[in-house]
């Protein structure tokens, strides 16, 4: 393999790794931002993995596609236009192309990894990651949230329906779960005492048509046994006893039981 081809492959590999690394850092920022937002909304933080993966895959693909010699040239002005030309003409063999390849190789020796890293951008990103991490840790420790999502859903539902929602019961159940001493609630809220309650049914307001009310029907339920249950005699009981002896035993039992 020609030296120029090896050098070109090497530089592409380097740019590829730096691109993936940069994209990963960006995706981590996205993860932390979403993690913070989710914590504030009382949504489990691990859901932030979804935007992280989406960002990593979508932008990663885009950035990797964008890796070309033009990008390298933009980072290393000394190679401007020469690198692309050398890359496009690596298969040609003449003195001008050879001299270009020599020049490009000489310049590439001075190319450092740092040339492809955005120092300022990287520092800003690292600071952002640190800051977001601290904020997330502190807010988690303090159990700080702007809004509970269940309350938010309830609020939205109330606003839409203009009344109570099915979620109200869920909320009440949750209150009991949260350690109230009595399942009947606090005494101050509900106290029946010994007062007699006078309850009346308003037939006019009920949906029951009394005229159609009939006596309860008696249903007969037959005993149906499963087919697979049956009795059988055991062979051990089939003893060979003579008829005389059988009569003696029969009489004996009739006598002790008092049967006629």
């Amino acid at each position: 393999m020609k030296a120029i081809v090896r050098a070109l492959l090497e530089i592409k590999k380097l740019v590829f790794f730096i691109t993936v690394l940069t994209n990963f850092i960006n995706s981590v920022i996205v993860f932390l931002v979403f993690c913070f937002i989710f914590i504030m909304l009382k949504i489990p933080g691990y859901y932030a993995v979804i935007p992280f993966l989406l960002h990593f895959m979508i932008y990663g693909r885009k950035r990797i596609k964008g890796i070309n010699y033009r990008y390298v040239e933009s980072r290393v002005p000394a190679l401007r236009e020469r690198l692309r030309t050398a890359a496009d003409n690596w298969d040609k063999e003449n003195e001008v192309v050879n001299s270009l390849n020599r020049d490009v190789l000489a310049e590439m020796k001075h190319v450092k990894t740092g040339a492809f890293l955005d120092d300022k951008g990287l520092v800003v990103k690292m600071l952002t990651i640190s800051l977001l991490s601290i904020i997330i840790i502190l807010s988690s420790a303090a159990d700080f949230a702007i809004i509970g999502w269940k309350d938010a859903v309830k609020g939205i539902d109330n606003a839409l329906s203009g009344g109570e929602s099915i979620y109200q019961n869920l909320t009440e159940i949750e209150i009991y779960d949260e350690g109230d001493e009595d399942i009947f609630g606090k005494d101050s809220i509900a106290e029946l005492g010994l007062d007699e309650l006078d309850l009346k049914l308003d037939t006019a307001a009920s949906g029951v048509n009394i005229n159609k009310v009939k006596d309860t029907e008696e249903k007969e339920f037959g005993t149906v046994f499963p087919k697979d249950i049956y009795a059988t005699s055991d062979s051990s009981y089939n003893e060979k006893i003579s008829k005389e002896n059988q009569e003696i035993v029969k009489k004996y039992y009739e006598q002790i039981t008092g049967a006629d």
């Binding site: 236009e81 030309t85 496009d88 003409n89 001008v96 192309v97 270009l100």
Partner: protein
């Protein structure tokens, strides 16, 4: 030889030319571009702008056979190509012998080409294209290298025969000679209005050198991005109907890439840059496009349109 070494030799040539011509550096460079591309150039400019002098100077610096054709309306094709003459042999026999015309040279200066009739122009342009001439049934190959550097002026159009677009397309470049700057004109006055010793130029490049440089020019590598840029630029000349009635042909794409290569070599570079393409776009395209009425109404010339295309 490396492009950087070539530059040293060519700088020596330009230095020699400067002894005779004041300013006009771009004109000299573009003439050399045409020579390196093994093609022809058309010089256009007002009278007195050293068009002919520039060509003569270049001819002196190149160790080539030089001839000059002063085009006039009564010039015949045979005056350029040559003709068969009856030659007296011994023993009372006579024989037709072909007498070569001025076209049989390495560097031909066709002065005021637009003054020749279309028939004569055609004869010249055919020789430029085929690099051979046919007289009767016989075909004569022209000596290589072969360049035609033609001149014309944009005024005094009466009694002239402007080159049709199809024929001007045969010239790789249309070089515009501009008026010199004040200081340059002062220098011209000092140099030519006073008695001074005439400058004798020594040839810098020989035939073999030129052939080698032409080979080297084609070897200059160009990136695919730039090739696409050139093709796209030429395609845009055909698409910009608001500015151009007719665009350039694929011959312009080939010419522009080749001219950009030569420009890079003159500057001692072993690769073509976008700057080379931009610089050469003007002389390569200006005679290959026809402006639309709208562009002319807006007082735009060919160079303005090319500038708009390059943006």
């Amino acid at each position: 030889m490396q492009p950087a070494e070539v530059k040293v030799h060519l700088d020596h040539l330009f230095k020699g030319a400067k002894q005779v011509i004041v300013g006009q550096e771009e004109v000299l460079k573009q003439i050399l571009v045409a020579i390196l591309c093994d093609s022809h150039a058309l010089l256009e400019g007002y009278p007195g702008l050293a068009k002919t002098l520039a060509v003569r100077t270049v001819a002196s610096l190149l160790d080539l056979k030089f001839s000059r054709i002063q085009n006039t309306p009564d010039l015949m094709p045979s005056d350029i190509i040559g003709t068969s003459i009856l030659e007296e042999k011994g023993h009372g026999t006579r024989e037709f012998k072909f007498q070569e015309g001025p076209i049989f040279a390495n560097l031909v200066l066709a002065d005021e080409i637009n003054r020749a009739t279309p028939k004569t122009q055609s004869a010249l342009l055919e020789a430029m294209q085929e690099k051979q001439v046919t007289v009767g049934t016989k075909t004569y190959k022209l000596d290589r290298p072969f360049f035609v550097l033609a001149t014309q002026n944009p005024i005094e159009q009466e009694g002239t025969f402007p080159l049709p677009e199809a024929q001007s397309d045969r010239f790789l470049l249309k070089i515009k000679t501009e008026y010199p700057s004040f200081s340059e004109e002062m220098e011209i006055v000092n140099q030519y209005a006073e008695e001074s010793a005439s400058v004798v130029l020594k040839p810098v490049l020989k035939k073999d050198h030129i052939a080698y440089l032409q080979k080297l020019t084609r070897q200059i590598p160009i990136s695919n991005d730039l090739k696409k840029y050139v093709v796209d630029l030429i395609a845009r000349t055909r698409q910009k109907k608001d500015l151009l009635q007719y665009g350039a042909s694929p011959r312009a794409s080939i010419g522009l890439v080749l001219a950009a290569k030569a420009h890079a070599l003159i500057h001692g570079r072993n690769y073509v840059s976008k700057e080379d393409v931009h610089k050469m776009a003007y002389p390569v395209l200006r005679h290959r496009i026809i402006l639309s009425f709208e562009a002319e109404r807006n007082n735009m010339n060919e160079d303005d349109v090319i500038t708009a295309l390059l943006k």
